[in-house]
Every structure is written in structure tokens, then in C-alpha cells.
């Protein structure tokens, strides 16, 4: 038995928590493909089409959720890289990872949120510096000595000591409001130094890590403003109060005090054992109230639907007709000892929450679960890697290597029965947050998040646009001024469309592959709605499919796109799938009296999973139960139809 096993279970327990030359490729024709354009008329070359339409832009890709050595669990697990290294990697530099391998992103990110755990923020770096706040505290010194000792056994002991004190409520760092001042200041300085408006945005943030009984209620808090707002308060520790409403109180107070703005992004409903989208108030049998719903909508406009610890869009058992729902699913446990039951699942997945939100809206007049979708990494290595062939693991000891730990470590459900264990090979190389912002600044990105004009990807950078209006026509797709037209006459992802003379909403959808990635398989609209009796429904429509396949009368394409993945060589070819998929779509079963939501899901063609790349690179065996290939995808924020 590997001595690291226990160590990593504790991580889970954690917060119970050559540059290419231009080729002319003239197919045997050696004639130089270059000629100076000569015209008699001097004006020919003056043809001057309009500059880019005013709304023409590209989505800004980033990660809202990256941990550095300043997070206790990351630092104690051997992550030695602070925020500066994290920003350097995000900006495209080569960085040496904690375990010693060099790493670089395929393409730089446009923005990044360093979201270290608020609880005992910066303990490990302060400990490494022998800061008096650590070595002159009796408990701190105990942990410090064990970290200094540095053997796996000592680290296990440090972890054990740390978290057992936390559970017992006797860990002085959990609620010490002085301790994080210095580390928080250091993180803020790193953010200010990395922020380069127009080129790269360093948003300020942290993670509030509430996890009663190991059931995950974590939220990432993101700031719109700069250091002057963020340093008015140290990040809120969930050990003061693990109720999300306490976080909203804190956010409200911060906004009132400073005039700044913050939002919170929950994640991993799949590890919440039924708590994430519960219909009851926290730790209570009382149903959620209109006030709760209003506050949740205000402070939590987004949900992180996919990340390394699995994807929480939809569950195969709740959506049995969705053949693509079984994607990077973690459904055996949480971080505690309690096994997952079927009854918990509806409270854990985004699609169900959207549906149930419509029901609550009927009763409470407010939809508590009205949120947009983003993906992020939640990596604890300071490395925001999301590609299958560049997966640097969730924590430093799981960075790429031949060590069996990389696949076999138990990463969730550890305190419970072995049947509920979740293993490191089940980690996903996911995800990214795409933001339709007009400019690459803190303000513009934050505002796009607030209006939910964002989408999630499981790691690739495909481009997805969707607009709804009662007046769209199929030929609008081909307009030269498409973007300006769509914004003027329709509403984008994340928006609302209200009942108008019983008209049926029409959708214009444009998607484009990641230019440096795989082709596209299909585009789908996923609709959910509620009838008068409060019963909910969902339906999937294929609205554009590749390779001239057809969509049947039921709105589905039953032909698979195929699979070009060569498992032994961990490769694929873009010989299947399309580069661009577009659609004009009108709901064929629209009932103007029923509230509904529509979101878009875009699937890539199959590509090798990270475990397949590992097998090729390291010559190890692919874990028996791991898929050899996967279809990376994007999920947009919904557009909601309101019948009132």
C-alpha cells in the first residue's frame, strides 16, 4: 500500500471539505504563388469594406478557479508555485511545475482568477518563510515542524492534525482574522502586477470552502475592482459560518462599505450529496424563501459546471434519453463518508436545477436557480492546463509521471466504503470559461459574467454564439452584419425573452471549432419546461450536424459522427466533423403558457482522453474503466422564456 494513499485521502478530506515556414504547396506547380496586383485604375485598391462590425469580437477564455501554494491543501501537498508563476503560465510562458517538469499552454489564456482557499490563506508559504505568525504559535509550530520534516508520514500527520483540529473547531488559523493579512496582500500585489488591461486580465478572487460533513458547498468569489476594494477585508473563512447565506451577507457588506462589486460561483454540485441545489434552507427543514431566491440570483449569477472533479451538467439516470450525458461523471460519493443516493442527484446537476428553478418560480415568484454556465480547472498546481495532452493533474503529486499514483490515488469518498472510492484516473482535463466581453478588462469581464453572457467548455476553445428573438428568419444567418443585427434585434445567451402575442421564439446559433483543435460533431438545443401542475420536462434537439448527416422528424440525428482516434498512438484526425456549424431553429412544440429555458450544447468529434495520452507517453496501461476517447464540449448559459 502506497504511503501516499492516506495523504491524498486527506487532500480529499481537505475541506470536508519550430516555427513553421509558410508553405506554398502548389501541388507540383513550382510557379511562385505571388504576384503584385496591378490595375490601371488607382482606385481599385481603395475598396474599403466596413471595418469590423462593432460587436465583432472573440470570446475571452480564462479560468475562474486556480489554486496556488497559498491554498493550505495545495501548499502542504508540495505545490511550491505562488501566484506569480500561475500568471506567468497563463500568459504563455514556460514554467517548471512543482514536481520538476516543464509546462506551457498551447495558447495563452486571456484572463485568470487566482482563487485560493480563504481558510488559513497562505499558511504554507508563511510556514516556509518561518514567519513568526506560524512558528510562535503553539499549534502552528507543531504543523510547521511536521512540514519541515517533510517525510510522507510527517505530512500525513500534519494534515491529520490540521484537519482534525479544524473539525474540532480548535484550529486557531481557521478563524484568525489577522493571519491572512500578509498573504492576502501578497496575492493582491501579484494580481495588480499581472493585470495588463487590453491584453491580459488578472481578476481578484478567493474560494470560500464550506463543506459540512464533507459535502461540497464551495464558492469562488470574484471581484470587479482592484486591490483598494479587495484589501478592505480579508477573505471570509467558512469556519465562521458554513451557511452560504453568511457569505452573501459578507458580500453585501463589502459592497456597501466599498462601492465595489463581487459575485460568487458555486461548483461541484456532484460532490454536495444533495445540498448544492437543495430546496431547503441550509441546515434546516424549512423550504427556501423568496428572499433566499432573490439573494441567490443576485450573488450567484454563474455555476461552474465542469472542472477536474467531474462535470455536473446532467446525470444519465435523470436524463436517460440523453446519450451524451455520461461525460466525466462523479456520482459515488462526496468528500465525506456518506455514499451517494439516487434522491440526492436532482439537487446536484445543473439541468435539473434549471428545471426545478422554474417550479420554484411558480411558487416564490423568483427563480433561485437562474444561473449561467462556465467551466474552470480547480487545479491545485498553479497550472491552468485544460488540454487532454497537457494535463498536469489536480494536485502536485499527481503531475505527469509513471507513478501509479497518477491513476490509482483515491481522490474522493475516501472515508467511506471502498465501493464509493473515486480514483485519480477519473479526474477530467477540464475546463474553461468563455466570456463575451467587449474588452479584456476586469470591468468588462465581470459585467459579462453578471449578465451571464458566458459559456463553459471542457477544455477546448470552440466559439459559440446564440441569440433569440421572435423576428429572426433563416436567412439572417447569412447576413454580413450578423453580429450587429443579432444584438440589435435579439438577446444573447444568459438573457430573457418574454411572452409576446403567443409568438414562438426563434434562435440563431453560430459555432466554430477551436482553430487549434478538433472539428465539431453537432450542435444541440436542450430545452426544459414546466407545466401548470409543476411537472418538469426536458427535450434535446440536434439543430446542426456535421458531414451531411440528417436530422429526423423528432429533431434528432441518430448517426454517430464516427471516431478517428488511434488509441495506441494517442492521435486523431480532423477527417470527420465540420469546422463551422450554424442553425436557425424554432421550437416545434412551443407552448406560450409554459415557462422554459433553452441552452446550447456543442460536441467535438472524439479525441484521445488524457489517460490515453499518458499511456502513449509513459508506456503505462490505460485504466480498465477509463474511456479511451472523449467528446469535449461546450455548454452555454440558457436563455429563459417567461410566460408572464
Amino acid at each position: 500500500m502506497n504511503k501516499f494513499l492516506l495523504l491524498f485521502s486527506l487532500f480529499c478530506l481537505g475541506f470536508i471539505a519550430c516555427k513553421q515556414n509558410v508553405k506554398t504547396e502548389t501541388s507540383g506547380n513550382s510557379e511562385q504563388n505571388e504576384v503584385v496586383q496591378k490595375d490601371y485604375s488607382p482606385y481599385v485598391n481603395n475598396y474599403n469594406p466596413k471595418p469590423l462590425p462593432k460587436n465583432e469580437d472573440r470570446p475571452l477564455f480564462g479560468d475562474t478557479h486556480l489554486h496556488t501554494s497559498y491554498s493550505v491543501d495545495a501548499g502542504m501537498m508540495g505545490n511550491t508555485l505562488g501566484p506569480e508563476a500561475a500568471f506567468r503560465l497563463a500568459k504563455g510562458e514556460i514554467v517548471t511545475a512543482s514536481a520538476g517538469r516543464r509546462v506551457r499552454l498551447k495558447r495563452p489564456l486571456d484572463w485568470l482568477v487566482i482563487a485560493d482557499h480563504a481558510e488559513a490563506l497562505g499558511f504554507t508559504p508563511m510556514s516556509r518563510k518561518s514567519d513568526p505568525s506560524v512558528v510562535e504559535d503553539e499549534f502552528g509550530k507543531q504543523i510547521y515542524d511536521l512540514i519541515q520534516k517533510g517525510t510522507p508520514e510527517a505530512l500525513v500527520e500534519a494534515y491529520d492534525l490540521w484537519y482534525s483540529a479544524s473539525y474540532a473547531g480548535t484550529n486557531p488559523y481557521d478563524t484568525n482574522v489577522e493571519f491572512p493579512i500578509k498573504p492576502w496582500e501578497e496575492i493582491l500585489d501579484a494580481c495588480e502586477a499581472a493585470n495588463d488591461p487590453g491584453k491580459f486580465t488578472a481578476l481578484i478572487g478567493y474560494e470560500w470552502s464550506s463543506a459540512p460533513e464533507g459535502n461540497n458547498l464551495h464558492r469562488v468569489v470574484v471581484y470587479r475592482d482592484d486591490k483598494t476594494v479587495a484589501n478592505t477585508r480579508i477573505p471570509l473563512s467558512s469556519y465562521f459560518d458554513s451557511n452560504p447565506e453568511a457569505l452573501w451577507d459578507w458580500m453585501e457588506a463589502l459592497e456597501a462599505e466599498t462601492g465595489g462589486r463581487v459575485l460568487a460561483i458555486p461548483h461541484n454540485g456532484n460532490l454536495s450529496n444533495g445540498l448544492m441545489f437543495s430546496g431547503k434552507l441550509y441546515n434546516s427543514e424549512e423550504p427556501i424563501s423568496p428572499e433566499y431566491a432573490k439573494r441567490r440570483q443576485r450573488f450567484e449569477p454563474l455555476y461552474e459546471v465542469t472542472q477536474m472533479k467531474g462535470t455536473s451538467e446532467a446525470h444519465p439516470s435523470i436524463s436517460p434519453e440523453d446519450e451524451f450525458s455520461n461525460f466525466e461523471i462523479w456520482d459515488k460519493a462526496s468528500f465525506g463518508s456518506e455514499a451517494k443516493t439516487k434522491e440526492m442527484l436532482p439537487n446536484e446537476y445543473a439541468r435539473e436545477a434549471f428545471k426545478r428553478g422554474l417550479v420554484y418560480e411558480q411558487d416564490l415568484k423568483v427563480n433561485p436557480f437562474k444561473f449561467g454556465l462556465i467551466g474552470s480547472t480547480d487545479s491545485h498546481t498553479s497550472l491552468a492546463t485544460t488540454e487532454e495532452n497537457n494535463y498536469f493533474g489536480k494536485i502536485s503529486p499527481l503531475e505527469p509521471s509513471t507513478d501509479p499514483l497518477r491513476f490509482e490515488e483515491v481522490v474522493a469518498g475516501r472515508p467511506g466504503d471502498p465501493s464509493i472510492h473515486i480514483f485519480a484516473w477519473e479526474m477530467a482535463a477540464s475546463g474553461l470559461a468563455a466570456v463575451w466581453a467587449k474588452e479584456n478588462t476586469r470591468e468588462a469581464i465581470f459585467d459579462a459574467m453578471e449578465r451571464k453572457e458566458v459559456y463553459a467548455t471542457t477544455g477546448s476553445r470552440m466559439r459559440v454564439r446564440v441569440f433569440a428573438s421572435y423576428d429572426f428568419k433563416p436567412e439572417d444567418l447569412k447576413r454580413d452584419d450578423f453580429i450587429d443585427y443579432a444584438y440589435t434585434n435579439g438577446i444573447p445567451m444568459g438573457g430573457d425573452i418574454s411572452k409576446t402575442n403567443n409568438k414562438t421564439p426563434k434562435f440563431l446559433i453560430k459555432t466554430r471549432k477551436d482553430p487549434d483543435g478538433a472539428n465539431l460533431d453537432r450542435v444541440q438545443i436542450i430545452k426544459g419546461w414546466v407545466d401548470k401542475t409543476g411537472k418538469t420536462y426536458e427535450r434535446i434537439y440536434d439543430v446542426a450536424v456535421s458531414d451531411d448527416r440528417s436530422i429526423n422528424a423528432d429533431g434528432r440525428c441518430t448517426t454517430s459522427v464516427g471516431n478517428t482516434v488511434d488509441v495506441a498512438n494517442a492521435s486523431y484526425t480532423n477527417t470527420i466533423g465540420d469546422i463551422v456549424l450554424e442553425s436557425y431553429w424554432e421550437d416545434p412544440e412551443f407552448d406560450a403558457s409554459q415557462n422554459a429555458f433553452y441552452y446550447v450544447r456543442v460536441l467535438e468529434i472524439p479525441t484521445p482522453r488524457w489517460t490515453t495520452y499518458d499511456a502513449k507517453v509513459f508506456g503505462v496501461d490505460i485504466p480498465e474503466d477509463a474511456e479511451t476517447s472523449i467528446q469535449d464540449r461546450a455548454y452555454t448559459s440558457p436563455i429563459w422564456y417567461n410566460s408572464k
Partner: protein, 292 residues
């Protein structure tokens, strides 16, 4: 000579020498007689520590207690040193080695580079600070979605249609939602729109003529570059804080290694592992690594 004086490594070694001399001197005195002095400095420190934890000064009784506690620690500490209990203690080893390393980190941040140092560093790393290429261009693309052989299609269009006006050329490519005309866009922005490969392929394309095909993740493009602005190097004073940050970041990593390499020279390192346990190859590699 000037350079030697400024080298942080030299600072480090000098500092080491000074510490060594002081240590010897102090030690000599201590051998004469075991003496523990509780002076007002010491007491002030204890009071400050107490104040930090309790947010108030200690009472006299409390102060007496902490002084005795401190004394107790000092006595045991001194006795432990005498008995060489600190030797080969894993915690103490790590701590002391870490302290040495932190000294080097501090030195790296403390040593403010001179203007010349920074200028030299800037010149050596200039590609990093250059502005990106900026393009104004037209492009059309032929994709696999619409053509069996996009390269051939692009070549045919190039051959037969390259003298068309820009307005006419526009409709020759596939109808893709990529802008036909880009005005003053950076290579970084182009990479975001059409991919890294496309952007990289443009750096050598001649201006003011159709050119292609240029490959991207979307297909085969024909490109007419109206203008390409070459990367320029900003003045150092305009990017100074960024360069300084990079300088110190690199120096810290460099210095850590340099100090280790230089201190290592003080030791004769003998590798004595038995051949039966480890291969010759392993031994050779290990020796190379250690002695390089």
C-alpha cells in the same frame, strides 16, 4: 572589480564569512563560562510576543512565568547543542538548509540591479518584450466542409482570380463567419480568431499581393496583406517595472543554483554505491549530474 562587488553571490559568500567570524568569537567567550543573560532587550522581545497574542502587555506575574519558560527552553537548548543533539536531526537539517536558501532569495530581491544590468537583461531577452506583428489584411478560406481538396481549390482560385478586385474576391472563398478584412490586428488577436498556426504562417508573407494557400485549423487561406507592422522593441523605461519583475524572478532561480554549485565545490563528493544494486549507467549519470 566593480562587477564582482555587485554580484549577489559575492555578497552571499562575504556574509557567510562574517557570520563565521562572529560565530567563532562568540563561541570562544561561551566556552569560558556558561552564561545566560536575561537583559531588557530579551524581556522586551518576550513582551512584544505576548502582546501580539493577547493584545495587551503581560502582568508582572505573567512576565515572570514567560521569562522562566524562556529560560527553561534556553537551558535545554544549550545542553542539547552540547550533546550534539542537533546533528543529523532531519527537521533541523531541513530548516537550516532552507534558511540558507532563503538567504539567497532575499539577496536576489534585495539586490536592485543597476541600470546597466537591467539594460543588458532587457537586450538579452528582447524578443519577449517586442510588440506583436500588426496586420491589415484580407483573407478567404477553403474548408474541408465544402471541398474535397481545399489546397487544389485555393491554388485554382489563386491562379485564375488573383487579379480580381477585393470586392469580387470576397465571394470566392467559403462563406465562413470569419471576417474578410482585418484592420490593424495583432498576431495574438489573429491567433485567437484563426489559430496559432495561421498567425505564425503570416510573418514572411509579402505585402500587397495575394498569397497562398496558407494553412490554418479551418482550411486553406488566400491572404492579401496590405500592411504588416514589424514588431518593435519598446523603450526600456516604458516597460521597466515588468522587466524588473522578470529580472528578479529569473535571478532568484539562477542564484539558488549558483550558490549551490559554488558551495558544493567545498566538498569532495564521493559516490560509493555498490555496483550490484545499481547499473553502471545509473552511476555514470549520477556522477555527471553531480559534477557538472
Amino acid at each position: 572589480m566593480n562587477k564582482i562587488i555587485k554580484d549577489p553571490l559575492v555578497h552571499f559568500l562575504l556574509l557567510g564569512l562574517v557570520l563565521f567570524l562572529i560565530y567563532n568569537k562568540v563561541n570562544d567567550q561561551n566556552f569560558e563560562q556558561d552564561k545566560i543573560i536575561i537583559d531588557s532587550n530579551e524581556v522586551k522581545q518576550l513582551v512584544a510576543k505576548w502582546d501580539m497574542q493577547w493584545k495587551r502587555p503581560p502582568t508582572e506575574e505573567e512576565l515572570t512565568n514567560i521569562i522562566i519558560q524562556d529560560l527553561r527552553q534556553e537551558v535545554f537548548y544549550k545542553e542539547a547543542l552540547k550533546m550534539n543533539l542537533d546533528h543529523n536531526d532531519e527537521i533541523i537539517k531541513r530548516r537550516l538548509s532552507q534558511k540558507m536558501q532563503f538567504l539567497s532569495n532575499d539577496l536576489a530581491t534585495l539586490s536592485q540591479p543597476s541600470e546597466e544590468d537591467l539594460d543588458k537583461y532587457y537586450k538579452e531577452h528582447s524578443p519577449k518584450y517586442r510588440s506583436p506583428y500588426i496586420y491589415t489584411l484580407y483573407q478567404i478560406v477553403f474548408t474541408n466542409d465544402n471541398h474535397k481538396n481545399p489546397v487544389e481549390k485555393a491554388n485554382t482560385i489563386f491562379k485564375n482570380e488573383r487579379n480580381l478586385s477585393f470586392e469580387q474576391m470576397r465571394s470566392k472563398g467559403d462563406n465562413l463567419p470569419i471576417p474578410y478584412y482585418f484592420e490593424n490586428v495583432t498576431s495574438h488577436e489573429l491567433a485567437g480568431q484563426i489559430g496559432v498556426k495561421f498567425s505564425e504562417n503570416l510573418t514572411t508573407v509579402k505585402e500587397n499581393s495575394w498569397y497562398g494557400p496558407v494553412n490554418s485549423g479551418f482550411g486553406e487561406h488566400l491572404v492579401y496583406v496590405i500592411e504588416r507592422k514589424e514588431p518593435t522593441l519598446p523603450r526600456l523605461q516604458d516597460v521597466k517595472s515588468e522587466v524588473l519583475r522578470d529580472f528578479q524572478y529569473d535571478k532568484q532561480i539562477e542564484l539558488k543554483e549558483a550558490i549551490f554549485q559554488s558551495l558544493k565545490k567545498n566538498y569532495d563528493i564521493v559516490i560509493d554505491v555498490s555496483d550490484s544494486d545499481y547499473s553502471e549507467n545509473f552511476k555514470r549519470q549520477l556522477e555527471d549530474q553531480i559534477n557538472n
